[in-house]
């Protein structure tokens, strides 16, 4: 199940393709505004055999009642054995609803595919790694994008055809979106992420992190605490129930490193922590820890990095 947003293919779909290709022959289903363009892109992706697309209006905005009905009918018609989607608000919404039509469990946020029926996933905020075997006839998975390298955009030669539309249910209606318009790098894909916590003290101080991120083309993330306090919008939240990131470099600024936050970033290759509390738990996961006042250290770091660039 591919995802389109704002008329465009969501890049994490390519991780789902890579994951699905490990299991068998891949058909991509894409529905909603921009599906036709997305379908053309998907047909060229390495590992995609076929693409089914529909731009019928009732699939817009990812309404789960409509998307799951289309998914169920498509799976039945095509005798698919596995349904894979990249973990996202969209897939979490639709996949479990569709799975019940097959009396199937869902294996959420899979981190590794051992075989067509055996998967590894995180539980307890990543503190217990579970290997599970599914006995369902049709298996539904969402896969963690940071665990599956995106399939190449070229090399595929899939066919594109129209999906058979399901009848609209009209049970829920979209009212509006309030989405941050940003040209900043996308959080779950950026090679460098700079995140801030309560140590930043207020919304305005987050500019310090924007300034640090800019020369490195880094994305900026946040802890739950600062989102709750209104310093940052919800889409910046990294953690157990927010976004999961695994960049090459994660710079944790003024955040203590609560279990729930660490769950969202502990797969980062290198972790740097800047905090004035030497006992902050973040130092236990950091590769490099700087005990310092962030209001002193961050501008210094920004200046030196900026100079180097």
């Amino acid at each position: 199940l591919a995802e389109v947003y704002g008329g465009k293919l969501v890049p994490n779909t390519l991780s789902a393709v890579a994951a699905a290709a490990k299991i068998g022959e891949v058909t991509a289903l894409v529905a909603g505004q921009g599906a036709k363009t997305a379908a053309a892109e998907l047909a060229k992706v390495a590992g995609v055999t076929a693409v089914l697309a529909t731009e019928a209006a009732h699939y817009d905005h990812g309404l789960p009642e409509e998307v799951s009905t289309l998914l169920v009918e498509t799976v039945k018609a095509g005798n698919f054995t596995h349904v894979v989607s990249a973990t996202s608000a969209f897939s979490k919404n639709a996949i479990p609803r569709a799975a019940v039509a097959f009396d199937s469990m869902v294996i959420s946020d899979v981190a590794e595919i051992k075989s067509e029926d055996t998967f590894i996933r995180n539980t307890y905020a990543g503190n217990a790694v579970s290997t599970v075997k599914s006995s369902d006839a049709v298996k539904f998975l969402t896969v963690r994008p940071t665990s599956f390298e995106r399939a190449a955009k070229e090399g595929g030669n899939g066919s594109v055809s129209d999906a058979k539309d399901s009848a609209p249910k009209g049970s829920s209606k979209w009212v509006k979106d309030e989405v941050q318009k940003t040209d900043k790098p996308e959080l779950t894909a950026a090679p460098i992420v700079v995140s801030g916590g309560r140590g930043l003290k207020n919304k305005e101080n987050f500019k310090l992190l924007d300034d640090l991120a800019a020369p490195m083309k880094a994305a900026v993330g946040a802890t739950r605490a600062v989102v709750d306090a209104g310093y940052c919008p919800n889409d910046m939240q990294v953690g157990q129930t927010g976004k999961v990131v695994a960049p090459n470099l994660y710079i944790a600024v003024g955040l203590s490193g609560a279990i729930q936050h660490v769950a969202g970033m502990k797969d980062s290759k290198v972790i740097v922590a800047i905090n004035n509390d030497a006992d902050a738990p973040i130092f236990q996961v950091a590769d490099y820890g700087l005990v310092a006042d962030l209001f002193d250290a961050v501008p210094k770091l920004t200046e030196k990095i900026g100079r180097a660039h």
Binding site: S88, P96, R97, A128, K173, D228
Partner: protein
């Protein structure tokens, strides 16, 4: 003779029964330890609490009662006898009565969202709620599936990851503002429906001592999966549960310059 015809307006209250599943899980602050036999997380003598997202769901239900929308709040929990403590907490927060579905299955592994959804559906068919408020995910299995599965089984509309719920004037529908990957989305549907509750929907109240005492008088009905005619056998067999790979321990640096040197030497920047 003139007869005055009085027109009697009868205010028939719009019923809104709210069903709230509540899960007993490891307390969010506990450091999790995996058993050496790799069969699961060690839960012996570990502090257990109501799942934080379920607390938010209970709080929202109680607020709906306080605002004159909900007419009854029913809390349901599935698991061993100790689940009754979790139901009592919901009752102390303001739920009216509880239902305990008794099972000795491990609720962090063997009892899975599909089975839970079927149990909740069976209870909903009996209790006929207008609204199901469900925590978005349990912090033990981190599945984030149950609300969506209940909605699918019931063929009801759903709104997941709610950060704001507004009941319509006529009390027959809701607007739900939900957290999505790029920000917020608002959807609307007519009841009955299912809403999964996210972090910022509300801040749950602490149960006061007078309310804890009052809760003792509220009823908790006990049933079993067999009574509800639901097959709760797991679909996912847990082959092993292990600690995550340990990160090599890091080092402290003394200054910004030292940090940069180290990062450059390691070719990270």
């Amino acid at each position: 003779q003139r007869r005055d015809m009085g027109i009697l307006f009868v205010n028939i209250p719009v019923k809104m029964r709210v069903l709230v599943p509540v899960k007993r899980v490891i307390d969010y602050a506990v450091k999790v330890r995996v058993k050496p036999d790799k069969k699961g997380v060690d839960l012996t003598n570990v502090k257990m609490s109501m799942n934080p997202f379920c607390e938010i769901a209970v709080e929202q239900a109680v607020r709906l009662k306080e605002s004159g929308h909900a007419t009854e709040v029913i809390a349901v929990s599935i698991g061993p006898k100790t689940c009754q403590e979790t139901i009592r907490t919901a009752l102390a927060m303001g739920a009216d009565r509880g239902i305990h579905v008794y099972t000795e299955m491990r609720t962090d592994q063997e009892l899975q969202p599909l089975a839970v959804a079927k149990l909740i559906k069976a209870i909903a068919e009996k209790e006929q709620p207008e609204l199901l408020l469900v925590g978005k995910q349990a912090i033990d299995d981190d599945c984030n599936q149950t609300a969506q599965m209940i909605a699918g089984l019931m063929n009801w509309p759903q709104a997941t990851f709610a950060s704001k719920v507004t009941v319509h004037e006529d009390k027959k529908g809701v607007d739900v503002m939900r957290e999505v990957d790029g920000g917020m989305q608002t959807v609307t549907f007519k009841l009955p429906g299912v809403i999964s509750c996210d972090l910022r929907l509300n801040e749950p109240r602490y149960a006061t001592l007078p309310n804890i005492m009052k809760a003792r008088k509220k009823t908790i009905e006990q049933v079993t999966p067999e009574d509800l005619k639901v097959d709760v056998s797991p679909r996912l067999e847990v082959l092993s549960v292990e600690e995550p790979p340990a990160r090599a321990s890091g080092a402290k640096v003394g200054s910004v310059d030292e940090l940069l040197t180290q990062l450059k030497n390691a070719k990270i920047i």
